[in-house]
């Protein structure tokens, strides 16, 4: 039986919290509960929003009372299977060329690593997509190698380009849109993570991601292909089970 607590977030949402840290097992429970509640199509549940270690459930209290929803969540959690979340594996092309990586020098200074060592360490792990948030299609991927874990910038930049690949603490993100940002920019991804026309995100929570370094020439070829609509990224293969 999983440990959890339910917290009110006003009268139309509540938070099911499985713990207070970033952890793949807690995240797997969050995603399994989200999938379970979504599949059950419970009348009165408006939408669910999975995050690192908790699930927000938005509901219509005049259809489904908080107490009835809490009871429903309890039932769902009792029947959770350990590895119900399935995800895709993606190979995401990213360019670490200094012309697209404004913070690479700064990260090198702060970590006492060379630019090449940063690239090697950043693209070594298979990342887990914990959640989407902040911007449409923005995936929080972890964990970044401990040597690359840095606090955010003291003064966030007012604007970074769409596709910026960035790191902060144990997380790596590709920012799908131009945005203010306090993360360290170490590259850029030519593939859009958010498809406005189809209202879909490329990555889903529970997916796995490997970053594949590409040259600036390859970046430009891919970026052109994307802008002409002739390039679409497909997952490399299907993997079953969230705990990798």
């Amino acid at each position: 039986m999983l440990d959890y607590r339910v917290l009110p977030a006003g009268d139309t949402a509540l938070v099911v919290e499985f713990g207070d840290r970033i952890d793949r097992e807690l995240n797997a429970a969050v995603l399994a509960l989200a999938h379970g509640l979504d599949a059950a199509r419970v009348p009165g549940i408006v939408e669910t929003v999975p995050t690192f270690r908790s699930l927000m459930v938005h509901y219509e209290p005049l259809v489904l009372s908080a107490n009835a929803l809490i009871a429903r969540i309890g039932e769902q959690i009792r029947s959770l299977k350990a590895n119900t979340a399935a995800g895709h594996l993606w190979h995401l092309p990213v360019c670490y060329d200094p012309s697209l990586a404004i913070d690479l020098d700064n990260v090198a200074r702060r970590t006492s690593l060379s630019a090449q060592q940063i690239v090697d360490r950043h693209c070594a792990p298979t990342y887990h997509v914990y959640m989407l948030g902040f911007l449409p299609g923005q995936a929080y991927m972890g964990e970044v190698a401990a040597e690359l874990a840095l606090d955010r910038l003291e003064t966030p930049r007012t604007r970074i380009p769409a596709g910026s690949l960035a790191i902060a603490a144990a997380m790596s993100c590709v920012f799908p849109l131009e945005t203010p940002c306090g993360w360290h920019i170490i590259g850029r991804c030519p593939v859009p993570l958010w498809d406005q026309g189809r209202a879909t995100a490329l990555l889903a929570p529970g997916d796995k991601v490997r970053f594949v370094p590409i040259s600036i020439q390859e970046f430009e070829t891919l970026a052109t292909g994307v802008s002409q609509g002739v390039l679409r990224l497909e997952p490399v293969d299907e993997i079953v089970g969230a705990a990798a």
């Binding site: 977030a9 139309t12 948030g133 911007l135």
Partner: protein, 348 residues
């Protein structure tokens, strides 16, 4: 024949297309958005004869001015009080002044100048038949941060031409609202949590006892408050989680921020309490400089208040009364008809 439209002359401080928001996509990081004051938005649509959640213009603090590029049209204005001027054309200096909370019949070439809002922060301008804007993810709300929806995903600018679905106004009377309370409210009810355990019971008590001022840094994402800072007892960073509209986050400065319609889907500050859904419309109207304080509420009280608001929404139609045309206006219209018939006979 050119398509019916409203041409924006001056956009006002920040005017966006809004409806009741786009829910169902928060898991992808898409903001819900929608009207800061959904009750006034519904009232504007009722006055215009539109479905309750049709897309309208939401003006903040200073309204837009625009030209009617349709044979005629019916507009409605609901929310903050304002002196709305209807000028005969773009060269006119002065025109007829009407107030908010009513519909109005306007003709081709007339200029509508909304000006500064008086009693609150938000005014909704609806047009009968609605704007001919395709929904994005089920909504026409403008998400400026995500550049989604509305008119080109941004606030209006001078020169924008907003297409209308109807080329002409229907033949009907004008209405005004009588007895629907659209005033801002300084007293807001809130439920503790989700992260009230980041604050000592004494600090939570101080939060509910305190009075805050809506600060100039406020926008559609959040209402920033100035007041006695609230201290955390376990630091001010949480593992980022999802945000509900109305949640009151307390960052390191201790100055609370009430998260409004355009809030990010996730965030990493503890949220001491969450404004109840029924009080969001009246709070959304509060202008910069207004006072605000919070009263602790239970889930039961919130549900009762939500039920009352639902009834109020269902009964908006009963609060609309017909505006009888003033006699001077009738005389002017007769004069206009005579003049036209005179011109016709002269030409014959």
């Amino acid at each position: 024949m050119t398509a019916a439209a409203l041409r924006i002359m001056t956009p006002g401080l920040s005017t966006t297309v809004q409806d009741l928001g786009r829910s169902g996509f928060q898991r992808f990081g898409v903001t819900v958005g929608g009207a800061l004051d959904p009750l006034s938005l519904r009232a504007a649509n009722a006055l215009a004869g539109n479905p309750p959640g049709a897309g309208v213009l939401e003006a903040l603090y200073v309204g837009p001015s625009f030209v009617v590029e349709a044979d005629d049209a019916r507009l409605s204005f609901a929310g903050a009080d304002a002196e709305i001027e209807i000028l005969s054309d773009t060269d006119a200096q002065h025109g007829e002044v009407i107030s908010s909370q009513r519909s109005a019949h306007v003709r081709r070439g007339q200029v509508i100048r909304v000006g500064s809002l008086k009693s609150g922060a938000v005014l909704y301008i609806a047009v009968e038949g609605g704007f001919a804007i395709e929904p994005t993810l089920g909504s026409v709300s403008t998400d400026s941060r995500g550049k989604i929806g509305g008119w080109q995903g941004r606030a209006l600018v001078a020169g924008d031409v907003l297409p209308l679905r109807s080329t002409a106004a229907t033949d009907r009377d004008e209405y005004r609202l009588d007895g629907l309370d659209l005033a801002p409210s300084s007293r807001v009810r809130a439920i503790c949590g989700p992260q009230s355990d980041y604050f000592s019971p004494a600090e939570i008590e101080r939060f509910f006892a305190g009075e805050y001022t809506v600060s100039a840094g406020s926008n559609r994402m959040g209402m920033r408050l100035d007041g006695s800072p609230i201290r955390h007892c376990r630091g001010f960073n949480i593992t980022s989680d999802a945000i509900a509209t109305g949640s009151i986050q307390v960052p390191g400065s201790g100055q609370p921020i009430v998260l409004l319609a355009d809030h990010q889907t996730t965030g990493g500050y503890p949220k001491i309490a969450t404004v109840i859904s029924a009080d969001l419309p009246a709070m959304g109207r509060l202008p910069i400089g207004a006072k605000i304080s919070f009263t602790a509420a239970t889930l039961e009280e919130a549900a009762a208040a939500r039920r009352r608001l639902a009834t109020e929404i269902a009964n908006i139609g009963d609060k609309m009364v017909r505006i009888s045309p003033p006699s001077a206006l009738v005389a002017a219209r007769l004069f206009e008809c005579n003049l036209i018939s005179g011109v016709c006979s002269a030409a014959a």
